[in-house]
């Protein structure tokens, strides 16, 4: 969804970058772009219009992306989805959104905007500018925004397509509607993206007016960028959307009750953030292990922690740690430094054709490593078991599986802290339960 006066064509460049990966549905709000003739300009009516478009499609799971004006509409839709227990809406991406509270326009800015594009003027205005010039001034903010010429020309034409009544309605009414109390707090995953140089709806305003509604929202600041982020920085925009989709997909691997527990105010924001980051395996740095060593490592990890699909990637964080050079504060004297120890041990396993062995033969090979306690092989295999199990059990999917409640102890800013019932068999009502016996 788009900004005031624009249309969904503002997303053309971003869509081109994302289309191979995602299904993207573009909606013009009533009065704008291809919906210029559609009536209904209040926030509620715009939300109705979007909802009916969504309902006409067969969507099982989707996110809303709203830019500026439509960000406010997206927040209202998220509130409605929550209140009607509609769990198809998975997340919100708000790009320099209008806040749910009245937008802090000065009266001067309001009247200036009404003069600028409130009526179609065939003739030049008092400043001698025609509609096209004024649309261009609006898009480029009098040439302050860094938008390619061809994109600006397309956007200016879209501005001229809008129904001036929709423009006037938003400035006089829609932007003044106060939805703050009705939107309240929304716990669904959210990303708020703001341009560093956006003076009206930039990072400080989003922190003050929007993020308080989104306890699971993350704020991303786009450097050297103003308000029309999709047209100014389409590549960055695509990267943010991809990362958000990756976050949602990863969170979907956690059973819904535990996911809701993690999103609840039992869990401190910092703990939640750490667990969310752990959902996405780190990139595997090159030059730490050869492809054969890496494949051997993965095969050994599959025997140490057998996992039904979808398996957690235990190798990536182990290799990332080897690359970081930060260990755990000690190593067995019989072993060389970690990176060397892994390379040498994996080479020996590979030389024993570990990858081509049957699972039972792989197990026998690993068991033989442990046969001589205290030997370098046994010590390395012990280190590998510890590394594997650490990555496995610290993953939110495993914490969900064992029904672990400890991440719910809260923190300095949460309403609840610690436990009130610590005797066996008397869990507190909020504590998750194990999903496997």
């Amino acid at each position: 969804m788009h900004f005031l006066a624009g249309s969904t064509r503002e997303w053309d460049e971003v869509v081109a970058l994302l289309r191979p990966q995602f299904r993207l549905i573009r909606l013009d709000l009533p009065g704008f772009g291809s919906s210029a003739d559609v009536p209904g300009y209040t926030v509620a009516e715009m939300a109705d219009s979007v909802q009916s478009a969504i309902d006409s499609l067969v969507l099982t799971r989707y996110s809303l992306v709203g830019h500026s004006m439509s960000g406010k509409v997206a927040l209202v839709l998220a509130r409605r989805a929550h209140d009607s227990s509609d769990d198809r809406l998975a997340g919100l991406v708000l790009v320099a959104p209008s806040p749910p509270s009245p937008e802090p326009f000065t009266p001067e800015k309001r009247s200036m905007m009404l003069r600028l594009l409130g009526t179609k003027q065939v003739y030049d205005d008092a400043d001698g500018r025609d509609d096209r010039t004024r649309a261009r001034a609006y898009i480029t903010k009098n040439e302050l925004r860094d938008i390619p010429r061809v994109v600006e020309e397309r956007a200016s034409l879209e501005v001229l397509r809008m129904n001036p009544a929709a423009w006037t309605a938003w400035i006089e009414h829609g932007s003044r509607e106060d939805w703050a109390a009705r939107v309240g707090q929304l716990t669904l995953p959210a990303m708020v993206i703001a341009g560093e140089q956006d003076l009206s709806l930039g990072p400080p305003q989003q922190r003050q007016f929007t993020l308080p509604h989104l306890p699971n929202g993350q704020l991303e600041t786009v450097p050297n960028c103003s308000h029309l982020i999709p047209m100014e920085r389409p590549a960055a925009m695509a990267t943010y959307l991809t990362a958000f989709a990756q976050r949602l997909a990863a969170e979907a691997t956690i059973p819904a009750p535990y996911r809701e527990f993690l999103l609840s105010d039992r869990v401190a924001p910092k703990t939640r953030q750490i667990l969310a980051e752990r959902l996405i395996p780190p990139p595997i740095p090159p030059d730490i292990l050869t492809p054969l060593q890496l494949e051997t490592l993965r095969a050994a990890l599959d025997r140490i922690i057998p996992q039904p699909p979808p398996a957690l990637d235990l190798a990536a964080p182990i290799v990332a740690q080897l690359a970081s050079g930060v260990g755990d504060g000690w190593r067995y004297d019989v072993l060389p430094p970690d990176r060397t120890a892994y390379r040498e041990a994996l080479d020996r396993l590979a030389a024993a054709n570990f990858l081509t062995l049957t699972p039972a033969a792989q197990d026998a090979t690993l068991a033989s490593l442990a046969a001589d306690p205290g030997s370098p092989d046994a010590r390395w295999f012990e280190d590998l078991r510890a590394a594997a199990v650490t990555r496995w059990i610290a993953h939110p999917a495993t914490l969900a599986r064992i029904g672990y409640s400890g991440v719910g102890i809260g923190g300095a800013t949460t309403p609840h802290r610690g436990f009130t019932s610590i005797t066996p068999n008397h869990p507190e009502p909020w504590e998750p339960t194990a999903t496997t016996k």
Binding site: R278, V326, D328, R331, I402, G403, V407, G410, S421, P427
Partner: protein, 526 residues
Amino acid sequence: MGTHRNHQMTAMKTYPQNEPVDVIIIGTGAGGSPVLAELAAAGLSVVALEAGNWWNPATDYAADEPHMSKLYWLGERLSAGDTPTVFGANNSGTGVGGSMLHWGAFCPRPDPRDLRLHTDFAVGHDFPFDYATLVPFYEEVERFLGVSGPAHYPWDPTRRYPLPPVPLNGPALIMQRGFAAIGVQTAEAPIAALSRPYAQPGYTERPPCVGCGYCHQGCVFGAKASPDITFIPKAIAAGAEVRANSFAHAFERDPQGNITAVIYQHEDETHRQRCRAVYLSAGAIETPRLLLHTGLANSSGQVGRNFMAHMSTQVWGTFDDEIRMNKGFPASLISEATLRPPDADFAGGYLTQSLGVVPVTFAGMVARGRGLWGQALVDTLTQYNHFAGIGAHGDCLPSDRNFLELTSEIDSFGVPIPRIHFSYGENETRMSHHAERLMTQAWQAAGARDIWTLQRSSHTVGTCRMGSDPATSVCDPFGRSHDIPNLWISDNSTFPSALSANPALTIMALALRSARQFLSVGFHNP
């Protein structure tokens, strides 16, 4: 994060580097922070150098074990010997507050007999003073930190704790049941976490423990006593300066051999702070490492010798009950009934405690110590909510086999990394077997199934022992170096024997005692 400055107190005094301060203290843990507070309160100009960060628990801590490994000393150490001891999370910390940022706050005093092991058993090494010498300092530390404990301590009728005990959690209730069944006495453990709101001169009110179970990952709520919220604020209010992210690695000395400046790295720059005296409080690994690296204070040849670690064997079992051992204070029950067991075939003794640990710690123990992997490992860990443990801490005799030495591997500061040799002797092995038998019986009596034993050692003790004879000890009974009159040591390296109790309380008591001695004689040559 990563700051040099205090996050809360903007009013910290600072001292110029080119003017000598009275005392530099290297390390801000159990050994350094009480000295810092004492000397500052007496009006001395004191600067503490801390290798790690100055964390803000409210914003820097999380309920996540891998993340909180930032509180551990992660510089590499080599573990050698037949029973290599583990560092990092096991016993070594970094940050303003030292390893007490992640200590368990299990806070018993040693048994009076532990200080005279050689007198009683003709093995080991006596402390150069008796238990009664330390009692006033134990009481002072317990009062200042706010130790919670039972109204009547079964093994010391004279003892009074300033606060009532913290509630017993699942593993503690099971241990209570199991020990009662086999006729062994237990009590609520002395814990340096608050059972009531508490304040002391030097720090503002701290809230009571909420039983979150993350003591070993740093207490976000301020209920657990760590130096950053007790001794350090007291010291700063009295005029001390603390410099975080400052790793000391060299000394300058005058022709008489006295230390005149400490050289340290801070944010890739080398700094030099002039001083009149130095306290070395970097712990039983870093203290001897620095002395061996600089070649100081070792005319006795004792620096790095007699490394000790507690026999800390644990017994674990699975219960039908849903225990959720992460809840409540992790080790809330104690027994001192085995400090001198009548059927012992060893010198000294051990205490026992109930155990609950958080999942990554537990998983590492199962994968390393129990040796499980494959489906058996997964099936075991999946029952996390049904486990409870019990553990011992037992005395360890000093041995020529057990020592710290420098290797040829160099760290990022250019200082050689240490290798620590540790092998159980006959005494530790016998004591471990005794503890294993007793704890297994208790767990059987409590209804555990699938009972197994984890062999481990914990705590770092020894390596710069104190004594009256300069030929056989590194420092005098107050921690003053025999060789360098203006160098003092205050940490667990000075212990001549390991004691059976967790060391932090004794480190703090010795620190207060040393600081008082420093104030009376520190600027006079012996």
